[in-house]
């Protein structure tokens, strides 16, 4: 029986759920010191003085350093790695500790190192920093206006860059359009908020530095950090132990990682830094924060002829690893599932006095999907057409794949009509509409929203996104090394770096089937730059379609060698050996067979019969660079109830049909879909990073940053279609971000459907009770004030920034 396709329980779970995981914070090294960072409470200011003398006198304090003190410890600043040809991106120098000026609340200005974390905390309070405040700008559109305060005087503008991509003739489409719809969308700022905050431990042994860190990208981190520290790469090892979720927030090289390395090197003792939750909310990068102006042009019969988007992306105060690139990452799917002959996209990046944005789950694609789906709904209203009919009319048809979009992107495979049909088999729309009508008579406002999405993942064909393509200064192949031990277990080294997805299990299933070994005896190792081959880590739903393919290729090489050994020992031709039910047997002679353990035993302790031209050992590697991205797709339906009196929205039903190619492990897929949808329900209804107009972060704790809990989401109904990708031999696509990408428009559309009889036509996320209530009031002519809880709000003096009394410490970046 093959293991692939089975809902194998997660191999990693027993240790995780019994408290035996090994996380960075669990690491205790002899003589370890603890670092605590002193951060700016100002959003924009000149540092006029720093007095560290009182802190230095504290018990247990080993050292206190400012940016000046460590100026010589770094060979270079924190890098940004996107350099598209012909595009200039304003990129300020970004040092781990700030000298001169601070640019956002939480900007690091000093570090205290002590023999205990508590001593370091106490001493950090005694570092006295004087600031001379400067004008602050938090709203990206205001930041682009003449006369706005400048985040960086030296650039003379808050504009970071512009980037455009187009295909087909949008101007002609616009001139000839029978119908045009336009809309403005705000995709607000969110946080990754993994359950494990960040933590980094650095150790120096003679010349060799080791960094243990809560990172999704140990390989990239070594590459970047060795450069920053001015040391050769062989002198730095980066290890990602168990990592408790990332959601993109750990796809970064952070100041604190560079700092602990510099401190360990300087002090000759291990140094640990652990983030508090409020620090996470303040200084782990944020995501989204885009405003999009979208135009769709169409014929009266519903044929969409053109799509234009003008996108303003709030990048915050610095350029981090991928900051300016992320808003554009959605561009390949900005026409959605639709065959649109002309697409015209333009991006403007903006500095504001806020934490930089970067990749958060979906990274650019949730924003793209949100606006194309909701604009399709708007177009349907304009045409008086059923929105699903409009979609069907414009879907790329099954027989058109591989389909080249107007932008020259090739969608690998798909069946968008089939996916929507499957959704409607699970969700009876006629029944819903009659139920809805009945409920409306009772004053219950129920609505349904749909989202039919395609996303792009499997990062990535190096030629497409590397220096020769989109301009990322990296490559995106993946590697694997497969070793079978003398007694027939397998050890797999992979260049990916999973952090909660369940890849230890799905990879063991793939390798186990190819090798003829029980997946329970396949150990997947990753996340250590001193083990295995070079890899490019885990993000962008790439691990299975790129890393899994590399693994399958390496495992097949091992299988080939095993067959050769088996053939030699059973006196048969290698072509005649087949692997069935875990046995390598001679075709047609089931009595002549060997297990992998027997073959591997012979490979490691060669018997006399083994021909000398077969090398000992049983181990192979593979490097795989995909030729194209993969394009998962699906169709989601969300049902909500809106309490029209209070504005409160409840999600009462959610049906998802996703297609990520053949299922390696359906249970893992469901888990990713559940989490992804929850993430998006969070953005649509609950979560928002809010800065007030002085640049103070209002949402510094989980009291104010409202992550949904199990009580806020319904039981999910999931189903799948399976359309293999021709890009890799497993046919797999990706599923880690699909739910997040698909669900915000479905939830928003459902709320709009519920509110439609009340006259509310549009509302930006998050659809909080007060916003919904005020929109209903305005629609009914009861004139409510401006929309609440927007970026840059002025909270009154009581603005405790919470629904109740969640405390937020000013020195941790909360509201003061």
């Amino acid at each position: 029986m093959t293991s692939v396709g089975q809902a194998l329980k997660r191999k990693e779970d027993p240790r995780m759920i019994t408290g035996r995981g090994y996380y960075t914070e669990d690491i205790q090294l002899p003589g370890m010191l603890y670092a605590v960072i002193v951060r700016s409470p100002e959003a924009h200011a000149t540092i006029t003085s720093i007095d560290t003398s009182a802190a230095k006198e504290r018990d247990g304090v080993v050292a206190v350093y400012t940016g000046e003190d460590l100026a010589g410890d770094f060979a270079g600043p924190l890098p940004m790695v996107w350099a598209p040809p012909g595009v200039e991106i304003n990129t300020p120098e970004h040092w781990p500790l700030k000298r001169g000026e601070v640019k956002h609340v939480g900007d690091p200005v000093a570090v205290v190192v002590a023999t205990s974390r508590t001593a370091a905390f106490d001493a950090a309070d005694d570092v006295i920093v004087d600031y001379d405040p400067k004008p602050v700008v938090v709203d990206p559109e205001q930041a682009l206006e003449d006369g706005s305060p400048l985040v960086w005087d030296s650039f003379g503008t808050n504009k970071t860059h512009e980037w455009a991509v187009a295909g087909g003739d949008f101007e002609a489409a616009e001139a000839e359009a029978e119908v045009t719809v336009e809309a403005r969308y705000v995709n607000h700022r969110t946080s990754g908020a993994p359950i494990e905050p960040r933590c980094s431990v650095a150790e120096a042994r003679a010349e060799k530095l080791t960094l243990y860190s809560t990172t999704q990208i140990p390989h990239i981190a070594r590459f970047v950090l060795s450069g920053m520290l001015g040391i050769a790469e062989d002198k730095l090892r980066v290890v990602a132990p168990d990592v408790g979720g990332g959601f993109g927030a750990k796809l970064q090289v952070y100041a604190e990682e560079a700092l602990v390395l510099a401190l360990a090197k300087r002090l000759g003792r291990p140094v640990k830094w652990t983030e508090t939750r409020s620090e996470h909310m303040t200084t782990s990068h944020h995501g989204r924060d885009q405003i999009s102006y979208v135009t769709l042009t169409a014929k009266r019969d519903g044929t969409v002829t053109g799509c234009r988007a003008r996108i303003i992306a709030d990048l915050g105060a610095y350029q981090q690893l991928l900051t300016p690139f992320i808003p554009t990452l959605g561009f390949p799917v900005m026409g959605g599932c639709y065959a649109i002959p002309s697409i015209d996209l333009h991006f403007t990046g903006v500095f504001t006095n806020k934490m930089p944005t970067d990749a958060i789950r979906g990274a650019g694609r949730p924003e793209a999907t949100y606006w194309i789906e909701l604009t399709m709904d708007k177009l349907a209203r304009e045409l008086g057409m059923d929105p699903l009919e409009l979609r069907r009319k414009n879907f790329v048809r099954k027989e058109q794949f591989p389909f080249e979009t107007a932008l020259g992107i090739v969608y690998d495979s798909g069946d968008y009509h089939g996916s929507l049909d499957r959704l409607l088999e699970n969700f009876d729309l006629d029944e819903f509409r009659s139920e809805q009508a009945g409920l409306r008579e009772q004053g219950i406002h129920r609505g349904v929203g749909f989202s039919t999405y395609v996303e792009v993942c499997g990062l990535a064909p190096s030629r497409a996104v590397g220096p020769q393509g989109v301009g990322l200064q990296a490559a995106f192949y993946e590697s694997a090394n497969v070793r079978v031990t003398p007694t027939g277990s397998a050890i797999v080294y992979s260049g990916i770096s999973p952090h909660g997805q369940g890849l230890d299990t799905s990879f063991a299933q793939i390798a186990g089937d190819i090798l003829g070994i029980d997946p329970q005896n396949v150990e997947i190792l990753h996340g250590d730059t001193d083990q295995g081959a070079w890899g490019w880590d885990t993000y962008g739903s790439r691990s299975l379609s790129v890393g899994g393919e590399a693994l399958a290729r390496a495992a097949r090489k091992v299988q080939d060698k095993a067959k050769r050994i088996c053939a030699a020992l059973l006196e048969a031709a290698p072509e005649d050996i087949e692997l069935t039910d875990g046995k390598y047997q001679v075709k047609g002679s089931p009595d002549k067979s060997m297990t992998m353990a027997e073959i591997s035993g012979a490979a490691h302790i060669p018997p006399a019969e083994l021909p000398a031209d077969i090398e000992p050992g049983l181990e192979e590697s593979s490097f795989y660079d995909p030729e194209n991205f993969v394009f998962p797709f699906g169709a989601h339906a969300c049902v909500v109830d809106v309490d029209a009196e209070t504005g409160k929205v409840s999600v009462v039903r959610y049906v998802a049909v996703d297609d990520c190619g053949p299922a390696i492990n359906p249970m893992l897929i469901d888990g990713q879909v559940h989490g992804g949808i929850t993430h998006a329900i969070g953005q649509a209804l609950y979560e928002q990073v809010v800065y007030d107009e002085d640049g103070q972060l209002v949402t510094g704790t989980f009291v104010d940053y409202a992550l949904p809990t199990a009580a806020e989401v319904p039981g999910f109904e999931t189903d799948r279609t399976e359309t293999p990708s021709p890009t890799n031999s497993l046919g797999v696509k990706g599923i880690g971000e699909a739910g997040t990408i698909a669900a915000t428009p479905a939830v928003t559309a459902a709320v709009m459907d519920a509110l439609q009889p009340l006259g509310v036509l549009w509302l930006d996320m998050p659809l909080t009770p007060v916003r919904v209530y005020e929109a209903i009031q305005a629609a009914q002519g009861n004139g409510a004030g401006p929309p609440s809880s927007q970026q840059g709000v002025r909270l009154d003096e009581h603005g405790r920034g919470s629904a109740g009394s969640g405390p937020t410490a000013p020195d941790e970046g909360g509201a003061s």
């Binding site: 209070t646 609440s788 603005g799 629904a803 109740g804 410490a809």
Partner: protein, 281 residues
């Protein structure tokens, strides 16, 4: 996330606890369930140098009925109230506090002493016209609900006074409802309303109480709404028009999730809903 340094004592008698508080001045704080105090300390918004933990002090855990009133020890947990449905609205409100972990730790004494208008039990105490006993240097005194809450996080308790007991009148013959409006199931109240209705023999409203959570710097009584309903009919229209008065005289602060106007609107809606529930019971 790490508190400033502090000392920790576990007195075994009430007198000892009071003495420790007294001798150490304003920098000493009582510790009950710790679920309001410790978060403030971890965020360094509070930095007491001594914590006087009440956990070994006997006689503070009871919930018992005596002569038409409930006597509840200061250390009774929210979970204990939750598990005593005979308490009526106090039990119903306790059940809606945060999540089970918080309810397993938090105490009624701590909740009232903390004086947070967003907490659920203060409005219940005010609506029920209950009282607390407080032990200080000069013995035991009784503080009626109406005098206990003075301002945001400020009560009539002296810093060296310990709430020992909370007394709530039994509400036989009253119907009740506690309506709490939150963004997420386990959040603090944006607004909460505690309503009690006593029906006369003819079904009219013999008496009524409405307490408001998070509508000002202290828990409040919606007296205008009470007056509008008292003595009148309990039909839907009467309740609805009485509830329209629920926010009169309130000046709630706006916050991230609500404007003052929206809170006043919620108070009216929730008062109506709580009164309907109370009148149905």
């Amino acid at each position: 996330m790490i508190t400033a340094p502090f000392d920790y004592e576990t007195p075994e008698t009430l007198d000892e606890a009071v003495r420790m508080l007294h001798e150490n001045g304003e920098d000493a704080k009582l510790l009950a369930g710790g679920h309001s105090l410790l978060p403030l300390m971890k965020l360094r918004l509070a930095a007491p140098t001594l914590l006087v933990d009440l956990r070994l002090v006997p006689g503070l855990h009871h919930i018992q009925r005596e002569n038409g009133s409930w006597r509840i020890g200061a250390l009774a947990r929210h979970a204990d109230l939750q598990d005593t449905p005979e308490l009526g609205v106090a039990s119903a409100a306790a059940k809606q506090i945060a999540d089970q972990q918080v309810r397993n730790r938090g105490t009624i004494g701590g909740s009232l002493a903390h004086g947070d208008p967003a907490s659920d039990l203060p409005a219940v105490l005010v609506a029920l016209e209950g009282e607390v006993s407080a032990q200080g240097r000069n013995g035991l005194r009784t503080i009626p609900a109406g005098e206990l809450f003075q301002d945001y996080l400020t009560t009539a308790l002296a810093h060296d006074e310990v709430i020992t007991e909370v007394r709530l009148p039994a509400t036989d013959g009253w119907g009740y409802g506690y309506e709490k409006f939150t963004r997420r199931a386990e959040d603090w109240a944006m607004v909460g309303v505690c309503a009690l209705v006593k029906k006369g023999a003819d079904g009219s409203c013999e008496d009524v109480r409405v307490g408001l959570t998070n509508m000002g710097s202290t828990p409040l009584r919606a007296t205008a709404a009470e007056q509008a309903l008292r003595g009148g009919s309990l039909d839907g229209d009467s309740i609805a028009s009485a509830a329209e008065h629920a926010a009169e005289g309130t000046d709630p602060p706006g916050d991230l999730n609500a404007t003052p106007d929206y809170k006043r609107h919620l108070a009216r809606v929730l008062t109506r809903r709580a009164l309907v529930a109370a009148a149905q019971a």
